[in-house]
Symmetry: C2
Subunit: 251 residues, 2 copies
């Protein structure tokens, strides 16, 4: 079994570059950190190239380590590569999957317009998974879905349901062609969400933390919804709003 | 107007200690950072002792700066004192308010058991404010509510509605004596939330990120609820679950 004890090792330096979107796209790889998430990646159709462990790490017996490239690293190197403050001692180097081009015919979809915070988008994907959605469409201006913080906030849900990327104008059109009603979220010209009935098929469009969904997209939807604010808060967190709407819409 | 340009200044060192709970309690003060939050603190009944600005900061005209102790600090000192990566150039040093001892007779309450993440608890308080709740009761084992990250995640809602602290066993009893139905959240022995009707008065009990609500508390409730998981996720984020339940319960 190979060992790397120095953080100056060229391979370690190369993997550290996977902390940025640019580095991930250049290398075609991303990092997954912690027992639960590595397990989810192994179980999903993600190609795990290498598993990094420290001497103290006790990997679960069911992990197919014999079939994987396992490298032992020092606690110091683990600390360098990990993005959490107290690393669990396991990191997987995975291949970026090809984005599948799904055809939409029916189902329940979350469309995300320019959400910037990886914690928010990860939590939204986790929420979409919980609500049993068919898929999530992440618009071009969103934070990269292979960001480490996003993967951790998704708690593995990013490996459970199709998370597609692309131009939302195009996706809204595809939903409409498939006769799936598209609901935007907006403060003006919108109806309270509770004024509509739960839906068998739907696409829900959620937007940027500060600006919401773009005007261009709001004009393409079938109907725009808002969540009433009964107190003095100006708005809800976007992941919380996603949960309220998805659980209401699915009925 | 006073100026402090060195981060070695004793006063600056003393304020830096307000980043920890221990430091806040010892000094009886806490920090509020950024335009929006300082404005909310000024508008609320929070006593603002000192406002720290940099030369580049342009405070809103309506701020009563003439009545406040304003100190100009260097960008370097601002960076030391601020907890955000790109500080807005304004920090208020505020007095910790006395916890009011509210009497409960009716209304809608959120009770929080041992939530550890300041972002989660702040978002829960923001959500409770949005849903028009009467108050939030933060149990003894929760993260400190004057944590900077919590205040930022609450987006000022911590200044909008009563946020009380204390022993939750005691508070659950008080709610029950006031004939306010208390709903716990649990996976076992619980009903799907949609099986109950929206309520005029209620207390909703949400629990720790990993462990949920303590067994001891769950035995004291009138009824325990769960949110169905339709996909492969193991659970919902606690703030998202709070949003789904509060908006459902208030009807």
């Amino acid at each position: 079994m190979r060992r790397i004890d120095s953080s100056k090792n060229e391979q370690i330096k190369a993997w550290k570059k996977l902390h940025t979107k640019k580095g991930r796209e250049k290398a075609g790889q991303f990092l997954v950190e912690g027992f639960h998430l590595v397990e989810e990646a192994l179980r999903a159709s993600i190609k795990v190239n290498t598993v990094l462990l420290t001497d103290e790490t006790i990997p679960p017996q069911e992990w197919p380590l014999a079939e994987l490239d396992v490298i032992m690293i020092s606690p110091q190197v683990m600390k360098e590569l990990a993005e959490t403050e107290t690393p669990q001692g396991v990191i997987a180097v995975c291949e970026l999957p090809e984005t599948p081009d799904a055809e939409i015919t029916e189902g329940k979809y979350l469309l995300v317009d320019r959400v910037q915070d990886p914690g928010n988008l990860g939590t939204m994907i986790r929420t979409a998974d919980s609500a049993g959605l068919t898929g999530v469409i992440v618009g071009d201006g969103c934070v990269d879905i292979f960001n480490g913080k996003l993967i951790r906030a998704s708690q593995g849900s990013i490996f459970h349901l199709p998370v597609l990327k692309g131009d939302l104008v195009d996706w809204v059109e595809r939903c409409k062609q498939a006769q799936i009603p598209v609901f935007g979220t907006a403060l003006k010209g919108a109806s309270s969400y509770s004024a509509i009935e739960p839906q068998r098929d739907f696409a829900l469009l959620m937007g940027n933390e500060g600006e919401g969904v773009s005007e261009e997209l709001l004009e393409l939807t079938d109907q725009n919804l808002y969540i009433p604010i009964y107190g003095e808060a100006e708005s809800l967190n976007v992941a919380v709003a996603t949960g309220i709407l998805l659980y209401y819409l699915r009925g």
